[in-house]
């Protein structure tokens, strides 16, 4: 043993420089942290989309290369094939065709061949061959609904035909996996791909629902890459059990197109037997997918709990959760059965399986963060399985109260949130109603008992005071007040029966001194409000009767990098503020522009919300000026709104069209395109609650006060332009007359005798002494003079002139009444003579093959934009005038892409329905089978007035930058006869009565108008009343602009001249009287 002293006196420690050691430690730790942080900073953030090196899990199970560059690439796989299309591949044209329309024999359900990819010359050649065949056949024999391309000078699709397996094969309903056959009829190299996984360069291919034809422009051979493609899809159709075909043509990107989706390519995978899958992949090498990534903890827990029986779907649609003390209950049941509390017989949790794994799942379900989340989702799911809500409106504005609710004694939490569908429960926009009180959560009670709503008034009611209550639920029992009236309310059914009712409207009367009201009613099951909730954003869903946990789409919380919306101020043309601090000003309300500029920050698509997006381009404040002239706007609004009560009164006390009537008056500067006034009805009433407005507009879109009907329509059948469309006819005829002398002569005017002898009229059976066309159609003369008969039945090819009190008039009668020596375009416009326009427009349509007695090739359809150019010139001209395309009204002031579909700064395209028969050509000429907006018609009027077509604009100035002066494009059509005719409309034509007074003496010579009256019902008792035209400068004091306008009042009893004529007359008179200062 060593002596102690030596032990404790160890040798002197080595002279390590402690400071250096310290510094070394510090440096080491700093280096380690540096490495850790550098790794962390270099790691991409999880939110960024990674470039996947592996194919998606539901993709093909082998490695592939997604090529770079534009075009279509076929990628052959061991099983099936991939079709990759380059970014920004352009959709050139698309047509949809019901297979029911293509049947040869509806009884046998056999299919006529569908020809795709011929041009008009080829089709016409085939028709001629039919005519010269022996024995002769009709021109359209076997040529139903051919889909044409542009031909060699444009997009030239390799011609092919689609047939059933054989001519005699009967079509089977959609979904029966029936094969259709595609046969190439073109010598150019092309490649077929089908959803069966087959691919061939040969002429024939069978497909089920989806096939592609790939080819290259210039006739180059198709390797694995091609420039162009046609896709043929068979899709389900509501009206045809065989489904419909959708044929789409794709071509190379527009020059200078920028990849909108980051260069990702659309990849379709046809695996043969399985359904097609679509992916978005970046170009590159991809390995086969790995096993699916582990699911999120909440999904796993939910599925485990469901499998373990800890979550059970009840008969009432709600999910029961195993009690939190179930483990203890099981222990007690085993060790101390007497220690179990009596429990309900409904759900016996003690008899299910139980082991350590289930115990752990139970613990996680009740005592972990994921479990809490799962239970919250279950509660949210359960809360949606029952419905009960009330809303009330006191007759006395001072009366207020508070609702409470309970269910079998359990107090219920109430919320003001209701699904948008609730907007359908009100026939009118609710005003003065208190917010909804809906049961937000339902406790898990076993028995279904009525829910009890209790209203406590802050002050006792007086005897006889009334209130209205809307109850969403079963028929209520009321105590505390007397029921004066009750009415069931439905979401869709009209009339609403108690059986279909999901709500009840009650009018109640208070008893003297009453302070409380009690309502008891049964809650409704979730099925009563179909789609009442947006389940796509909830985790729990019921799919085929089974509960499933689905991850909702990401990004619901919004992009954190997106800047806050800009602060927006909107002014009128004169600089007066229309919107500030997110609210419309008093001036905006007074001018009826509140919905246009923005009613509420929550509104989307209004001017303010579009301008607020400028924050994406760095603007934090936006000060914008609209083109609306407050003087014109105020006068226009007064004139239109003043007329509407008379329009309604014409139908008597119970106006049946009150709920669907819209009206609009739009005024634009014909030369600059500035929209100077835009009046809409219905307007949002001042003081309406935004949520009510929104819900009402969503539930009843036709009555939406948020839609700018002047240039937005709902795509329905109530937007026919009627005779105002004859302005398009007139322009068409003027243009056609340049190369058709006989037509030019007809437009210049024919005498009565000439008209009777006119070869063109004779060949087309146009009779100067007939009120209908064709003049000798069966029974024409007899029935055309009977009031109450309609003439625009699609199945009827006959049209007749407008019926006055004495019935329809013939051209000769019109000439005689107006003392016309010759009758031409100006007179036809003055009289709005249907037979004259139908006849002459019909002569312009080459698909009818100049043979008025035969069907011609009217079923022909344009698959590419220029396929029918020159063949059906009405369509060409309509497209040139703006039909078929929406327009942005920003005057070019906003960055590209800022305006989105549905915004008020974008018009809804006016459209012509497809024309597939001679009758439809005639109806189109008369303004039927189309959806037109007042602004579109005002644009046409402006184009005739100025000889140039300008794009309308609503924005004049944004943050000090003014919209550039409008140049427009020259129309290139003689318009003098049209102007003359429109002047006659106001002088002695269809609008004569409206502008007859002496106060219009100064205005009338400078006024050019065209009326329109489009029947909206079978009996011809309700119309769209239209008036469009312009006023030359100088007619109004200090008004130097040429004012083009269009007025629409839907569902009117009177004609366009009577209804809209009165509106425009009142507007002009008001402007004339008020002078320049308003």
């Amino acid at each position: 043993m060593e002596p102690i002293s030596k032990l404790n006196q160890r040798p002197a420690p080595r002279r390590i420089r402690r400071s250096w050691l310290l510094l070394l430690c510090v440096a080491l730790s700093v280096a380690l942290l540096y490495r850790q942080l550098a790794t962390l900073y270099a790691r991409p953030t999880p939110t960024a989309a990674p470039m996947r090196a592996r194919l998606p899990v539901d993709g093909p199970n082998e490695a592939v290369i997604i090529p770079v560059g534009p075009g279509f690439q076929r990628i052959a796989l061991r099983h099936g094939l991939l079709l990759a299309s380059g970014p920004d591949q352009r959709l050139i044209g698309q047509q949809s065709l019901s297979l029911c329309e293509q049947q040869r024999d509806p009884a046998a359900a056999t299919l006529l061949p569908l020809y795709v990819g011929w041009d008009w010359a080829q089709l016409r050649e085939a028709a001629m061959a039919n005519l010269t065949a022996q024995p002769p056949r009709p021109a359209h024999y076997g040529l139903k609904n051919p889909l044409l391309d542009d031909g060699p000078d444009g997009i030239d699709i390799p011609a092919f035909q689609m047939t059933a397996a054989t001519d005699e094969t009967a079509l089977r309903p959609y979904g029966d996996a029936e094969a259709l056959r595609l046969t190439l009829r073109d010598r150019r190299p092309a490649l077929w791909l089908a959803d069966t996984g087959e691919t061939t360069a040969g002429p024939t291919l069978a497909f089920r629902d989806d096939a592609w034809l790939l080819w290259n422009g210039g006739g180059q051979a198709v390797g694995d890459r091609s420039d162009y493609a046609v896709r043929v899809q068979r899709l389900p159709d509501r009206d045809c059990r065989f489904g419909r075909l959708q044929i789409s043509v794709y071509g190379p990107p527009e020059p200078g197109a920028v990849g909108a989706d980051g260069g990702l390519r659309r990849v379709l995978w046809y695996a043969g037997g399985a359904m097609m899958r679509e992916f978005r992949l970046a170009p590159g090498h991809y390995a086969a997918p790995v096993t699916p990534p582990p699911r999120r903890e909440d999904a796993v827990l939910f599925e485990r709990a469901l499998a373990a029986g800890l979550l059970r779907l009840g008969e009432d649609g709600r999910i029961a959760i195993a009690p939190a003390d179930l483990p203890l209950m099981r222990i007690q049941a085993r060790d101390h059965p007497e220690g179990l509390a009596p429990h309900e017989t409904g759900l016996d949790w003690l008899n299910g399986p139980w082991d350590e794994a289930i115990r752990q799942t139970h613990r996680a379900l009740h005592f972990s963060a994921a479990g809490r989340y799962v239970r919250q989702q279950v509660e949210a799911f359960n809360a949606r399985q029952l419905w009960a809500a009330v809303r009330w409106k006191a007759a006395d504005a001072d009366q207020s109260g508070e609702w409470r609710a309970d269910w079998a004694g359990a107090p219920l939490a109430l919320t003001a949130n209701m699904p948008l569908l609730a907007g359908k429960l009100f026939p009118e926009l609710p005003q003065g109603w208190q917010p909804w009180r809906r049961v937000a959560r339902w406790p898990l009670l076993e028995e279904r008992t009525p829910v009890h709503f209790h209203l406590t008034l802050t002050q006792p009611a007086q005897r006889g005071q009334r209130l209205e209550v809307l109850v969403a639920g079963g028929a209520p029992t009321v105590s505390g007040a007397t029921v004066v009236a009750s009415q069931p309310r439905c979401l869709d059914a009209t009339p609403c029966s108690a059986r279909a009712a999901v709500a009840y409207w009650l009018r109640l009367e208070w008893r003297a001194g009453a302070t409380a009201l009690d309502l008891r009613f049964m809650p409704l099951p979730a099925s009563a409000f179909p789609d009442g909730y947006r389940y796509e954003f909830s985790y729990l869903r019921l799919e085929d009767g089974q509960l499933a946990w689905r991850d909702p789409p990401a990004g619901g919380a919004g992009d954190p990098a997106r800047p806050a919306p800009a602060e927006v101020m909107v002014r009128d043309r004169a600089g007066a503020m229309l919107l500030e601090h997110g609210q419309p000003t008093v001036a905006a309300w007074a001018l009826g522009l509140a919905a246009l500029v923005g009613l509420d920050p929550a509104q989307s698509g209004d001017v303010a919300s579009v301008l607020a997006r400028l924050s994406l381009h760095g603007a934090s404040i936006v000060d914008a000026r609209l083109s609306v002239d407050p003087r014109l706007q105020a006068a226009a609004r007064r004139a239109l709104l003043a007329r509407l009560p008379q329009v309604a009164a014409a139908f008597g006390e119970r106006d049946p069209w009150r709920e669907v009537r819209i009206a609009s008056l739009v005024v634009m500067d014909a030369d600059q395109g500035d929209i100077l006034a835009v009046v809409n009805s219905p307007e949002p009433p001042p003081g309406a609650v935004w949520s009510d407005l929104y819900s009402f507009a969503a539930g009843q879109p036709r009555r939406s006060p948020l839609r700018i009907w002047a240039w937005q329509h709902d795509g329905g059948t109530w937007q026919a332009a009627g005779s105002t469309f004859k302005l398009v006819d007139a322009l068409l005829l003027e243009r056609e007359a340049r190369h058709r002398p006989e037509l030019a002569a007809a437009l210049a005017g024919l005498s009565a005798d000439e008209m009777a002898q006119w070869p063109l009229a004779q060949s087309y059976d146009f009779g100067a002494d007939a009120a209908c066309y064709p003049a000798h159609a069966s029974g024409c003369a007899a029935w055309a003079r009977q009031p109450g008969q309609r003439y625009d039945r699609p199945e009827s090819a006959v049209v007749h002139n407008f019926r006055g009190a004495a019935g329809a008039e013939t051209p000769l009668e019109r000439m005689s009444r107006a003392r016309d020596e010759r009758y031409g375009l100006a007179q036809a416009l003055r009289d709005s003579l249907n037979t004259w326009f139908a006849w002459l427009v019909e002569t312009t349509d080459a698909t009818l093959l100049d043979d008025p007695t035969a069907a011609g090739l009217a079923t022909v359809r344009a698959l590419t934009p220029n396929a029918l150019r020159g063949v059906r010139p009405l369509l060409d001209l309509a497209a040139e005038l703006g039909f078929g395309a929406s327009e942005n009204l920003d005057g070019g002031l906003l960055p590209a892409g800022l305006i989105e579909s549905g915004d008020v700064l974008q018009t809804t395209a006016s459209n012509l329905d497809p024309i597939t028969s001679r009758a439809q050509v005639r109806l189109a000429a008369l303004g039927f089978r189309m959806q037109a907006t007042p602004l579109q018609l005002a644009e046409i009027a402006a184009a005739i007035a100025s000889g140039r077509r300008v794009t309308p604009r609503l924005l004049l100035e944004v943050n000090g930058r003014s919209a550039p002066a409008a140049n427009g494009t020259a129309l290139g059509i003689a318009t003098e006869r049209i102007k003359d005719g429109m002047a006659r409309v106001a002088l002695d034509g269809t609008a004569q009565a409206a502008f007859a007074g002496a106060r219009f003496d100064a205005i009338r010579p400078l006024l050019r108008v065209k009326t329109g009256t489009a029947d909206l019902d079978e009996a011809g008792t309700v119309h769209n009343a239209w008036l469009t035209g312009w006023l030359e400068p100088g007619a109004l004091p200090s008004e130097s602009r040429r004012l083009a306008f269009a007025c629409l009042i839907s569902h009117a009893a009177g004609t366009g001249g009577e209804e809209c004529g009165a509106v425009v007359a009142a507007w002009l008179a008001s402007l004339a009287e008020s002078g320049p200062d308003g």
Binding site: M1, E2, I4, L7, N8, Q9, R10, P13, R18, L21, L22, C25, V26, L28, S29, V30, L32, L33, Y34, Q36, L37, L40, Y41, R43, P46, R295, R296, E297, D298, P323, A324, D325, L326, L328, M329, Q332, D335, H336, G339, L340, A341, H343, E344, S368, A369, A370, R372, Y373, D406, G409, A410, P411, L412, A413, A440, P443, L445, E446, T458, P560
Partner: protein, 782 residues
């Protein structure tokens, strides 16, 4: 061993280190967004009317949007009821000391209530006994156990806690053994009364100082099974809609915001006491509710906002000052100035403690100022350059922490975040002034009486041990994982463990080579004492906290301490082999962590397996991994430069849970950037290394001088080394948690996180021990 080089150290560098945090705090204050704080809410209401108020109108950031309903009675009085489904309203009547739920209903004999469909009648209710009648059954409850028809029901979950409660009850500590009676569920047992159709914990009966009260249970919700008071009477009301009368002097906590009722007539005036929503001073605050008017004030940086509570604070200051005066004042005390110094130090410690305890709302910067002054005083007091440098490093680290905590508070609209920095500064200041006062007295006493004797040391140790165990027991009984009564007793236990181990190893080291026989059982028992404490601690952590993070700390500490023990071991075999084994173990530990990251499914401990899986793949665990994912996002967002230079407010980093504590490094990295983080980790390493150096210097002195100084130096060596090891483990675990290279472990980062107990009960005592050891050593050699 102070060489001349060390002695010639230029202290200007130390003062610069001391000054830097002052500049940082000043910079933070000047750049802080200007806030307006609600000081007084005035609610005006006509009699008979009521108003619903919530988060916006009450400026209570943690409240619901519709949280309370205030009603004006026809007689002009005010009543308040809680409308929130999930959050409480706490109410402390003017002359009461207890916060109680506004939904609490004291039970009195004859009272009736129903839970679900079950009707209860209170037959008897006194201080320690409650009798209920349901149908034909009678239930008795004494605060601990339920009896049915007089027969005690079995324990729901039998275990040591129940036995401990019963034992406490038998010892007369009845209030320590109380537990609530839980109503609902499917089981009758000692603290549960099952009810058909009512889920467990829908309501509960809790013992209160005056008897028993019915209140909503932990799973209670207003729209659940109804709990009705006095049913079928005109006074019938739901427990959830129960209202309380308000009187002047009452305190309310709505959400987390505290108010005091100043007056009830003509209007209701509520003074806002704490944790209020602030408003940017640049714009006019909105008037949310027409019924509520708000009186605004600005942040009180240096001058008090009002006179509230100053009498209590001054009282504490006076008492402590007087104690200091008496303590330092012996008749034979040769100097007078020192007496004033001690009294002043204790008085200033009183200010700090008063600020910490919230006796008065002191201006925001006072605690920061007080702690910095005492750090300066300490810097001026110490002689050894090593302790001076140690204090300088502590000053820099504490300064970084307090600056970050101050930024945490000033960068958000909710005022409550300010308390973390203030409380930390106040605690550190209190510790500094108290220890400085003690140091002054010790200097004088030591000069007269010499070193302390072993008996004093043993008793001090026992006292510390007892206090730590008692605190742990209290936490086990009444607290939870987050501590008890606002403190974390585990920190004191860690200090005790460090001290006890140092004491045992000191004993062992003194006898190296002399105790090869096992014939001295008492000695071995003393050696085993710390091991027993270690086992107790580990068991506590595992059994009670169900948390393995303390075990990780203790493991690292044990291994380091073993290394420290073996390093001076006289026997070369022990020394070399032992150190080799320990180093190998440490390597194995690191390799094990890496292995675990690759194969989390192989983790043997079932109850922590989730935590491991979350650590490996946080993206699959949106709930359990939320904290880590958010933290990593925030760190990435900070980058190397940090966000504080460009953005005055804290932003999205505030959404990281436990930001002020476990995830304070995340805040630091987000706001000040990775470069500042590198500086921070350098300082932390320097702190640990300096502690180890000081410990090494103490070891160098063993064997010199008398046996008491040798023992003291061994104790210092082991104690400071152990403390340094534990601190190092804390730093490692905290960085690992925040940066994701270790599983999330709820451990604060020393001198950065807002962890008052950790700071005052562990970190600062270790630093103080090192300073005392080093100063004594330096005194010896100079």
């Amino acid at each position: 061993m102070a060489d001349g080089r060390e002695a010639r150290i230029d202290r200007r560098w130390l003062w610069l280190a001391w000054l830097l945090p002052v500049l940082a705090v000043a910079w933070t204050v000047t750049r802080a967004p200007a806030w307006l704080e609600p000081r007084l809410l005035t609610v005006s209401l006509e009699p008979g009317h009521s108003v619903t108020l919530g988060r916006e109108a009450l400026w209570a950031p943690q409240a619901d949007s519709e949280h309370v309903q205030l009603s004006r009675q026809p007689d002009g009085g005010w009543r308040l009821s809680n409308l929130s489904t999930s959050r409480q309203v706490l109410w402390r009547p003017a002359r009461s000391q207890d916060d109680r739920s506004s939904r609490e209903w004291p039970l009195a004999p004859g009272a009736h209530f129903t839970v679900g469909t079950q009707a209860f009648t209170v037959l008897a209710a006194d201080m320690d006994h409650l009798t209920l009648q349901t149908g034909q059954q009678r239930w008795d409850y004494d605060g601990l156990r339920l009896r049915r028809e007089g027969q005690p029901l079995p324990e729901c979950y039998p275990g040591w806690r129940v036995r401990l409660r019963e034992w406490l009850g038998r010892m007369g500590l009845r209030s320590w053994s109380w537990r609530p009676l839980r109503l609902g569920g499917g089981v009758y047992c000692a603290d549960r009364l099952g009810l058909s159709g009512v889920p467990v914990d829908r309501a509960m009966i809790t013992p209160i100082s005056t008897g028993f009260a019915l209140r909503p249970g932990w799973a209670g919700r207003p729209d659940g099974a109804p709990v009705t008071l006095e049913p079928d009477t005109p006074q019938a009301e739901s427990l959830w809609q129960r209202s309380i009368p308000l009187a002047s002097g009452d305190r309310l906590i709505i959400g987390r915001t505290q108010y005091r009722v100043v007056s009830t007539a003509p209007d209701l005036e509520l003074a806002v006491l704490a944790r209020v929503q602030r408003w940017p001073a640049g714009s006019e605050p909105p008037r949310v509710s027409p019924a509520v008017a708000v009186q605004w004030g600005s942040t009180a940086w240096l001058w008090p906002a009002g006179p509230s509570g100053w009498d209590r604070l001054l009282g504490l200051v006076a008492v402590l000052g007087l104690c200091g005066w008496l303590w330092a004042g012996g008749r034979d005390r040769p100097w007078r100035l020192g007496r004033w110094q001690v009294a002043a130090a204790l008085a200033l410690a009183g200010v700090c403690l008063g600020a910490y305890l919230g006796l008065a709302t002191v201006p925001l910067l006072w605690p920061y100022g007080l702690v910095w002054v005492v750090l300066g005083v300490w810097l001026a007091t110490v002689h050894s350059p090593w302790s001076a440098w140690l204090l300088a490093v502590v000053a820099l680290l504490l300064g970084s922490g307090l600056t970050a905590l101050l930024q945490l508070g000033v960068g958000v609209a909710e005022s409550g975040w300010l308390r973390f920095g203030s409380n930390g500064a106040a605690l550190a200041g209190g510790f500094g002034w108290l220890s400085w006062g003690g140091w002054q007295v010790r200097q004088w006493r030591q000069a007269n009486a010499g070193p302390l004797d072993s008996r004093w040391a043993r008793w001090s140790l026992r006292l510390l041990f007892g206090a730590a165990l008692l605190a742990l027991a209290l936490q086990a009984l009444f607290g939870d994982e987050s501590g008890w009564a606002g403190m974390q007793p585990f920190e004191l236990t860690k200090l005790t463990l460090v001290v006890a181990a140092a004491y045992a190893l000191m004993l062992r080291a003194r006898l190296w080579g002399r105790d090869r026989s096992f014939g001295k059982p008492s000695l071995w028992l003393r050696y085993l004492g710390p091991l027993a404490a270690l086992a107790a601690l580990s068991g506590f952590a595992l059994v009670f906290l169900r948390d393995f993070s303390p075990l990780v700390l203790l493991l690292l500490w044990s291994l380091t301490l073993a290394l420290v023990y073996l390093r001076p071991h006289p026997h070369p075999l022990w020394r070399r082999l032992g150190q080799g084994v320990i180093v190998a173990l440490l390597w194995a530990l690191a390799a094990g962590v890496a292995w675990l990251h690759d194969r989390p499914e192989d983790f043997p401990l079932n109850f922590q397996a989730d935590r491991i899986r979350v650590w490996v793949a946080p993206e699959q665990y949106p709930h359990a991994g939320y904290q880590l994912r958010r933290a990593l996002e925030a760190i990435r967002a900070g980058g190397w430069r940090g966000t504080v230079w460009s953005e005055g407010s804290n932003g999205r980093v505030m959404t990281v849970p436990a930001l002020e504590n476990d995830f304070m490094p995340t805040f630091f990295l987000n706001r000040y950037g990775g470069v500042a983080g590198l500086g921070l980790v350098g300082l932390q390493t320097a702190l640990v290394a300096m502690l180890l150096i000081i410990a090494g210097r103490a070891r160098d002195r063993t064997g010199c001088g008398d046996y008491r100084r040798t023992a003291w130096n061994w104790f210092g060596y082991f104690g400071v080394s152990g403390g340094a090891a534990l601190l190092g483990a804390h730093f490692l675990v905290s960085w690992g948690t925040n940066l994701g290279f270790l599983p999330v472990m709820g451990q604060p980062m020393p001198l950065l996180s807002a962890a008052g107990s950790h700071l005052a009960l562990f970190v600062l005592p270790i630093v103080a021990l090192a300073v005392v050891i080093e100063e004594g050593h330096y005194d010896d050699t100079t």
